[in-house]
Every structure is written in structure tokens, then in C-alpha cells.
Amino acid sequence: MKFWEIFRFEFGYQVRRPWIWLIVAVLIVLDFLMTRDGSVSEVLYSEFYLNSPFGVAKTTVFGSLVWLVTAAAVAGDAAARDVATGLYPLLYTAPIRKRDYLGGRFVAAFVLNALLLLAVQAGILLGVYLPGVDPELIGPFRPAAFLGAYAIISLPNAFTGTAVQFWLASRSGRPMAAYFGSFLLVFMGFFVASFVLFRRGLGTLLDPIGIRFVVEDMAHLWTPIEKNRRVMQLEGILLTNRVLWLGIALVVVGLTYLSFRFAHRTGGSWWSRFRVRSQKASSPIPPAGSGATAPPALSARPVSRASGFSLHARQTLAIARKSFRAIATSWAGLAMLALIPLLTVVMILDQTESNGVPLVPTTARVVALLTGSMADEQSRWVVIPFLLVFFAGELVWRERDAGLGEITDAMPGTEWPPFLGKLAGLGLVLALFLALQAISGMMAQTIRGYHDYEIGLYLKTLFGLQFTDFFLFGVLGLAVHVIVDHKYLGHLVAVLAFVFIALASLFGVEHNLLIYGAGPGWSYTEIRGFGSSIEPWLWFRLYWAAWAVLLAVGAVLFRTRGPEKNPGLRLRIARRRLTGPTLRTAGVAVTLILALGGFIFYNTNLLNEYLTPADLKERAAGYERRYGRYADQPQPALTAARLNIEIYPERQAVIIRGSYRLVNRSRTAIDSIHLTTAPGVETGTLQFDRAATCVLADEKLHHRIYALRNPLRPGDSLRLGFRVHAGPHGFRENGADGPVQANGTNFTNALLPGIGYESSRELLTPADRRTYELTSRPLIASLYDLEARKRRGEGTTLEVVIGTEKDQVAVAPGALRRTWRQASAGSGERRHFHYATHHPIGGVWEFFSAGYAVHDMVWTPATRADSATTGAGQKRVAIRIFHHPKHTAHLERMARSIRACFDYYSREFGPYGYNFLSVVERPGNGTGMHAEAGMITHGEGFTAWNPEQGPGSHDHPFAIVAHEMGHQWPVPAATVEGAPVMSESLAWYLGMKLVEYAKGPDALRLLRDYLRQPYPYPAIRRGEPLLRALDPYLSYRRGPFALYALSQYIGDERVNRALRQLREKHQPKNAPLATTLDLYAELKTETPDSLRYLLHDWFETNTFWELETAGAGARQTPAGTWEVTLEVQARKMEYDSAGVETTVPMNEWVEVGVFADGKTGDPAGPLYLRKHRIRSGRQTIRVKVPRRPDQAGIDPHHLLIDLKPDNNRKALIIRP
């Protein structure tokens, strides 16, 4: 009865508060927008219905997150209102039991929260079914999708959230402590669970909100069909996660119950009590005087008192000091100033390693980990703005919470010192936090044995850049709390402000001038430094700083002094306060906002063209609508290009003069030439070497048409000359780097005119195409599309003279013919390089200029008999490695890998196509590599790979180079389904073979172990088979594994021969382009009939195996040999395109191995390794080995794809 009454009263009390309905409104509106918003679905790269189970789940998770950070007051109020209002002495002395009291309050909070979360589902339903949605986007209504998401995501979140919030609030007696509970949960989900250390599974498990499961596991592992059809079930890792967090929540509830007492609140934590005691212990308490003694008379003399500026300055300082101390000694402060920096060390150690291979923790890399944009809602640093909002609220309400409000409000001085003092206190906390973060970074570097700390860079990035962003937000948080003047509402508004900043596009706001604190980001790399990113960054931040001043003025004007809350009165008071310095400050701020905003607008929208994502899509659609009709019109092929490139790093400008040789390879005469020009550069008049008139020059959609007076007959050629100029005009809205930088210029031929209609400019995703009313097009041509296998163009020979300033080296595709320096008028001495390709190269040409050091080497074909036969026509190759002068650690390893590749690949797969190879380091912290014809490029991060030396450690950079070099022996492949297999799978197969060739089988085993790890490509059971694969897991993992397994079944000579023949068949100029079907056919001819089923399982279907050694024993025979008995379990299954599993019968050859030393591997090879016929189900295998065995198992080298590889091998039980 009393339980019911407490529940009823609490529920009734809260449900009548207006702010709870505001939260309902916020949840409905945000989830409505989220449902309608397409950007998230694009991020997650798959199409799904708005009301598909996945769509509902994703928005539900988002809604849970919004609920968590806005609605903590529900549990907080239920738990702590009695203490906060002071009613508790009346209540605690009533004859109620603890479990009725706490239970009633907790259940009321939980029910309220559970009901609040229904608003999320309401928002989704409205988003789907209110008018304005393309009916095609709406699938069948499935109540299970909504109910499932609510029951599996929302309800457990409500329980866990309520439990944690309730606990903290009841413990501290302060409702706002509940927000700290929310922070802890968000921190778990965004910070802790994001460690790679925990891999996917553990991260998913540790995330209390479910965001990892939906955004990572579901988004990446579910097939599109699954996303639309499969209803989330409480199973697997999700079940474990929910059970785990419900368990934690129950423990927290229990803790709340046990630690609660109906007792007088003495105030203060154990910590503050401890401090008080240690202070007072030394000074005895003075005896209270009896009422009779006369007190010393008040002095009538005036004490000198400060006033005016000096008073304000001192007040500000005093308040700043107090505010800083208040935050720094609170639990939340402790979390920010101790917990986060400590975990940051772990985070950096975790992030400077990839699957066990360490990266050099350069300061550039570490500061990139320590900083994050406010606009990145998935960044781990979103926890900081939440803390700032929380702290701002604590500071604004500090005096009033302590009951001192009216006293401090009556103090002399204006409203400025309290605001500025609290702001300064907040700033001090931030500064201390960032200082500790820098120390954490340096600690992590030290732990990794790296000592080049670059403190200057830490200071610049953390204190100059990151501090500014956080601090600007801090001003907003503080001003919002002051102006709203309601604790919970202030919090709600401030959090919404953050949601708006982070997800502005959700609200249809794109321009950085309209998003508080926003602006272009900055970048730092060792080659570029900050490049040109600081200047636009700074202009925008100055502009926002002016706004921040205006916000401060607003806060000062509207700050309530005393209990008066009437809005009209506050407005009148504000008008009265707007005088003197405050008025002048406001004036200056407004002037600055107008001036800076105008200047920025002039740069972003007038000097440069400002295009929203929607504008860009509109243009792409317009381009297709107007010029798509020319897609099939024959156009001449670009067979040769001569370019004269002048790079001016100082001015960040480049001038390119060039000429194309265009040949009509079609069977009809060509009467008009279509050209696409590049956006963002100036393309001058085009000159033809024959009479031509420009009939259309569309400078908006970047398309030009020239009519030839005399059509170009088949086989004829013409010459086209052009001039392109690119350079900065002020800065752009997104601050995007121009192609040319002071150091570290990198651009491609995308700046140059292209021939013909470019279908790559078309909109791709079905959603976009529907929006702009374009007919749907497949992402890529079908595997069986014969048209797509026809060759377009035959490659281009390229001759480039490229000039740059005297201290830099410029790079273009081709062999370096010569280089010279010359003084030119106006720009001092310049350096020129002449590159040329003998053989045609592909369609992408990259150009570079930077202060490179060059590592030159030459590979000469071996004169051994075997290579003399296979390497016929192979010439010596000039290899040039262009690198940042400071980055040298990788050179030797890279050179070794490259040499080995030339040796092995040219022997096995035919000659290398060119007489040059350029390896170029480009600016950027990425660790990957990229290959184009005759050129390999890599980010600066690649040079940071720091594999451990010695056996047992995987030399990853060596393997990556081998993979990229594999791309230099390409099979000309058609752009159809399965194309990634033709490039990436083959390159990794080559890479594996190269590692085995150069470093032996152990190194290969380590590489395969690395590739089998679930990061970055977790195994998926996606629908399409390898033959039509597009997914990175299939092309980077399953494909090479398939080829490798085949090489173990039929021998590498046969697989290599198949690849070699494939290359030879498709390399000639007139040969059709290859597809996976051709690869499949070549492999088939090399595979004996008895093993063809393997090809089918690997390529035609999505087959997985489940192989397990259930029991393994060994006994010594009287003859002294050993008999090994294995109990093995085998199963094989196929997955169809919807992810549906079918078990298929198995009766095939699988390796069985016995090993003498299972841990270190056998230097002498396994005791036994042979293929056995294995059928589905359980079976016993007996083999004899000569020596005492240690381990045995089925498919011990993991040739077949088994998602649980760990149970293949087992230690043997030795029986007497």
C-alpha cells in the first residue's frame, strides 16, 4: 500500500512537470528527424526501408542516447528531491520501510523513463508515416520491429540508466548527480568500448547503450536483406550484453538499497569529512562565550574597500579559484582529471597498434588521438562537452544549491564577475585536463619507448586548438544555464545545443557560419605541418569568439539576482543593465560578428563557390540529366599526353599547360568532342589542331562540347591543347586544402579536362537517385554484362615536365629523364623534372612536390637460367623512393620487399610492365598504401609501422609492400561484380606467396594469422559469392584465402600458372577485359576433377566449414611408434543472399596433422600431415607417427574457412 502510494505520488508529481513533456517533445522531434535523415544510412552504406527492423533499431539507439543525456533528472529527482528540497526529515521519520520508499521511487522513475522512451518509437512512426516520404522507402509495417527495438534496446537501457542515475543521486542527495551517471554510461559506450583492444565482441559487450552493436555489428555484418527483414532477436552477443548490463544494474540497485539509510544528512562526502577532520584536529574548538560578555565593539572606522575595476577583477579571480576547486574536487571532476587521463594512456597504447603490430607513437599521431572535432558525434571526446554542460550547471547553481544565493546576489559589483569567474574556473579545469592529457600522451610514448616528445606540438594542438573549441562550448553551456535559469531545462537546452552542433545537418543547417563554434578543422602532418588549415580555422573561431562574448553579455543581462523569475521583469532588468561597459562590450561583439562574419562570407561564398551536399547532388543529377545522353556517343581515346606543370608552393598555385593526343578508335567518324572540366580550377580555352568551335561551355556543370568542322575519321587523331590554373581564393567554407601546399603538394589528373561523359560523376545510391528522380542504376555492372568487358581506351603514354621551387622535389608518373635548375623571372630559382612513360599507364596520374629525400636503387633481372626464360623482355628497373627526410626507418625493409617482389613476381607471373617504379610518401597520417601503374603511394603513417624484430613477430609493412607490388602485376579486369577480387584478392595472394618466398613459412603463418583477425574486416556471411564479390572482407580476406587453400590442395605451380596465363590472355591491347569468370576458368583447368568441388565451395557459393577436434589421444605401440586417435566433428554450410544458413553434406579432403611441439612449431615440419576424406558428423581418425606427439588436429593450418578456428587443434592426452 505504502509502496503504491509512494509510486503513485512520485509518478503524479513528475508527470505534471513541464520539462518532462519537453523531453518527450525533444525525443519525438529528434527521432522523427533521424528517421527522415538519409545521411546515416549513407554512412552505413546500405539501403534499407525507413521502417525496417534495422532502421528502427538504429534510431532507437540514437533515441536512447538522447534520453540518457537529457532525462537523467527523472531518476535524479525521484532519488534526491527529498534531500534537495529539505523535506526529508518529515519523510524519513514517517513509518515507512526502506524497500517501499526506495522501491516506489525507483519504480516510478523507471516507469517514467520507459514511457519517455516510447516517444522514440512515436518519433520513428511519425517519421515513417507522416506525409512527405517516398512510399518506396516504406516497407511493410511490422510491429515486431518496433516492439523488438523497444524491448531489447530501450527497456534495458531505461533500467540500467535509471539504476545508475538513481544510485548516484540518492548517494549524493543531489538530483544533478544523475547526469553524472549518464556521463559514466556514455563514457563506457563511447570511450571504453571503442578500444580496439577489446576487439569487436568485447567492445559490443562493454557498451551499455547498444550503440556498438547496432552501428558496428548490425550495420556491417548484416546483409541488406537481413537489415530489412530480420527482426532483432535477443540472442548471441546482444543477449550477453543485455544480461550483463541488467546484472550490473541490479547490483547497483542492491548497492543503493544497502547504502541508503533513513538518517540525517550531515552533508559532504567521506572525502570532505576526512579533510575537515584533518584540518580541525590541530585547532581546539574555542569555547562558546556566555551570553553575558560584551563583544568587542564594531569599529566605526571605514575599511578601505575596492570598487570599480579592481573590485571586479578581484571578485572574478576569487570566484574563478573557488569554481576551479569546486569542480576539481568533485566526483565528476575526479573523473575528468584522473580517470580520463589514465584511460587515455591505455587508449593511446591501444590505438598505436594494429592487430599486434605496433606503430611508432609520433607526437603527430598521439595529438590526433587526443583531439577531436565537436562536430564528430561518434568521436570518443563527445564525453567532454557533456561534462562541460554538467560542470556549467554545477557552477551556475552552486550558490543557490548551498542556500547562499540571496547572500551572494546581494554582494556589490555587477553581474560580470560571477560569470567571468565561473567561466575562468571552467577554463582552468579544461586547461588542467588538457595538460594532463598531454602528460598522458607523453607517458604512452615513453611506455612505447619513444622519446621525441615535441612539447611545442602538444601545446599548439591541445592548448591552442582543442582548448578553443571546448572553451567556446563552455561559454555556451554556462550562458545557457544562466539564461534558462532552470536546472533541468538548462541542461536539456545545453545538451540540445550540443546535439545541434554535432548533427547540424539533421536540422538542415550546413554552413559553418550558422553552427555555434563550428568551422573548418585543422590538420597536422609531419610533412605539411598545419599547412593552410590554420588561417580559416582561426577566422571562424574569432567569429565564434565574438559570438561567445555576445553570449556572455546575454548571460550577464539575464542573470537572475534574487528569486524573481518573471520573464517580463527579467527583460526589463536586462534593458536596465544594458549600459556602460556592458553596452560597449555588446557593441564591440556585434561589430566583430558582422565584420568577421562578412569577411568569412566573402571568402566562403563570394570568392569561392559554396555548395551544400544537396547542391552537389543537385549538380550531379543535373549533369546526368543533361549530358547523360552522350554517354554512349563514340569519343576519341586519349593515347598520349604531354604536360608542363609549374607548381608554386609559396602561393599554393599550379599552372598546367598540356596537350592530349586523341585517336578515333571507333568505327564511325566523330564530329563533336565532349569534355568535362574540373570544378574548383580555371580551365582556359581549349585549342584543337583543327577547326573546331565551342558549341557549349557549361561552367556550372563542367561540360563542354566542341564541334569539329571536319569529323575525325576512324583511325585519325587530333591534338588538344589546354591550360589549367588552380590556386586559392581566400578560403573555403570547409577549409578544404587546395591541391598545392607549402610542403606536401599532391594532386591527380582530376584537375585536367577529361574526354567524354563521365559516368563516375553520377549519383550512386538508390536513395539519391530516387530523390532526384533519376532511373535506378546498378552500383556496378553485372558479372555477366558482356558490354562491360570491352576495352575502353588503351592507356596513355605520359610525358611530364614538372617544375617546383628550388628546395623541393617534384614527382610525376614515369621514369626520370633529366632534372635541371633554372632561374626564372619573378619566382627565383626553380627546379624542373622531366618524367616519361614508355608504355601506356592507367587512367589515374598522381603528381607530388615536397622537400623529399630520394632513395635511388636499381633492380636488374637475375641472369640465372630460369629467369632468363621467364623474364624475357624484362629490362632493368629504376626504383626511386621519395620520402620525408625524417622518415627513414622503413626504407631498408621496403627496399628488401620491393627487390624480392621483382625477383619473385617477374619469375612467376611475367615481366614487369615499366622501367621505373616510384614510391612516394604523401602527407597524411594514414598507415595504408595505394598502387597505380608504376607508382606506389603511402601516407606518412606507413613509415610508422614498427614491427618487433625477431621470429614470432609479424612484419606487416613488408607484407603490405608485397601486396601493393602485387598490384604492379595486374590482370586487366572489367569493372563488373567481382572486380575487387581480380585486384585485391590476387594482390594478397601474391603478397602471401612473396612473404613465404622471401621470409619462409613461419612468416607466412604469421601473415595469415594477422589476416584472420576480425579487424578491420570481420568475417561476414554476406549473400553474394566470391565470383560477384564487392565487399572488402570477401576481396581482401576470403579471396586470398581461397587461392591460398587451392595452392595447398593442387600446388602453387598450378595456381601461379593459372594466374600467369590469365595475365597473358588479357594483356594484349585488343583482348577483352578479364572477370572472375575467367579466373575461375583458368583455375578450373588447373584443378583435377576430384577437387573441383573446392572451387565451387569457395567461389560459387558462400561456404563455411565447422571443423572441430573433439577428442585426441595417443598411445605408444609395442613397436615404439605412436598411435594417435582423433575424434573429429565436421560440418559444412552455405549461406544464401539473405544470410540463411543451409547445412550441406560434406565428404571431402581435409588436412589432418600431428605435431611434436604444438607451441613453438616444428622446425622439422609436422610429424604427420595428410589429407583425409572427412564426411559430415563425428568420426574417428587413427594415424601412426614415429615420435612422441604433442598436438593434433583437423585442418591444422586453417585452409578452410572456419569461423571458430581455435578448436581445430587439441593437445593430445597420452594414454598408457
Binding site: M1, K2, E5, I6, F9, Y13, R16, R17, R81, A84, T85, G86, L87, Y88, P89, L90, L91, Y92, T93, A94, P95, I96, R97, F262, A263, H264, T266, R273, V276, R277, K280, A281, I285, P287, A288, S290, G291, A292, T293, A294
Partner: protein, 302 residues
Amino acid sequence: MTLEISGLSKTYSNGVQALKNVTLSIPGGMYGLLGPNGAGKSTLMRILATLQEPDEGRIQLGEIDVLHQKDKVRETLGYLPQEFGVYPKARAGELLDHFAVLKGITTRSARKTVVETLLRQTNLWDVRRQKLGGFSGGMKQRFGVAVALLGNPKLMIVDEPTAGLDPAERVRFLNLLSELGEQSVVILSTHIVADVSELCTRMAIIHQGRILQEAEPLKAVEALRGRIWRRVVEKSALAGLERDHSIISTKLLGGRTVVHVYSEDAPAGFEPVPPDLEDVYFSAMAGHLPPKTGGPEKEARL
């Protein structure tokens, strides 16, 4: 029913010793606990109201062991703390009704009667639909009284109740209390001597955690007769007087200072004055305890 307190001590974690071996026997009726600020009154009251734990001592209310049977005590307890708040957005009637349920008045009709009676008694009936956030100090205090009176408590703890009340409110409140004192133990802690003298049949004076004197007010006043002397002086003369006499209190009257001293004999320049309870209080504070038959200190020594 009597409340027996014996050997109660309490020291706070910051070192303040709030109660030192307090022993009291409190019969039914109004009992005043008089003491200056910081004497330990509120601590004692909170311990009696089951909100705090003493370090040592026992408390017995009739058959109930107050320290160990808190649930039992709460069933029959009315507590009006020195300071308390209310839910600003709740209505008076609604919150009182809530408390009525919590106090165990579960039948709807009974509750309705009780709530209405109390609201009328505390003169809050007309504002029962108003939000408590808008209540004045006195209204809030009366609301607290209403809560405390719910369910006819056998033990009523009232901590400094009249501090914030205007004279009219105070009279109304004291009347309410005295009605209750007819059937229960009512302990009223205060530093206002008049409260005690007007209401209480018994009283104790507490100072620095000790009970200085336990007495019936009238008898205590009687015991002081002939020992309190009065003189009106200028403020500047006060220091001189303090050297030679045992001043128990000073008071301003029309700009001059009225000095009361305690003396067995007539001091020069002073006139005799009939003692009142205030003189009892200040004499006790100044250490002039009348000869007693059995003070708490003695009991403790036994």
C-alpha cells in the same frame, strides 16, 4: 508513557562533541529543552526522531527501545524539524494526504477527515490547493506541524518551532502544541525562554552538550528568588561591572543597558528584581546552579 534517556553521547566526525552523557527522564506533557545555539539541542532531537545514531546511551519510550526499534518509534512519532523544505510544485492538501498514507492512515475516508481537520487546525484549509513553493515561512511551518500531527503521535519532537513565526502565528502554534501535550510526550527545543515558560511543565537547560539543569519552570524561578539584582548603566560602564560582579545577562532598554547579576547578598548599587525563567536560564548558563535534589550530573556520578 515516559521517555527515558540515559548516558547519551554523540561526537561528530569533525570533532565537535554535540552531546555529553545526557540523561533525562521526560514524562508525558510538554517538556522544554532550552539552550543556546549549538548546545546540541538539534542533535538530541534528531536522535530522538530516529534520524541520527548516538555513540553511546539508551533511549526508552515506554516499551520501545528508540535506538533499535526505529520502525516502532516512527509509527507513533511526530517530528517537526528546525529546518525543512517542501516540494515546491506540490499542493498542500495533496502532499499532506500523501504523508497521511505514509503514516498508515490508509482508509480513504479516515484520511480525508484527518487531512481536513489538520488543515483547518493549522489554518491552511483555504490554501490547500496552492503550491507549497509559494508558501510563506509561517505557512510552511504550519504545514510541517500538520504533517507532525498526523496520526496522533505519542511522541512529538518539535525543534525550534517558533523561530520564524510572527507573534500571532506563534500563539496559534503553541496552542496547537499544548492541546497535543495532554495525551503525549511533547519535547520542544528552543532558545526562546518564553516558549518554555508559557507552555512547559518541565524543562531542561542544555549547554555545550550537557544538561545543566532539569526542573519545573515555576520551581526553578522560585529557587532563584532573592538572588537576582538589577542595575541600569551606560554601555561604557559595563566592563567595570563585569570585573566585580557575576553578570548573568545584559539587555538594552531605551539605549541604556540593563544588567542582571546573580548574588546571594545584595550588591551595592543594585536593586532586587523578581526572577523569571530567563534569569533561571542565564544563571544556569553562567554556572549558578541552584541547590538541587537530584540533577543529572549527580545521577551520572552515581
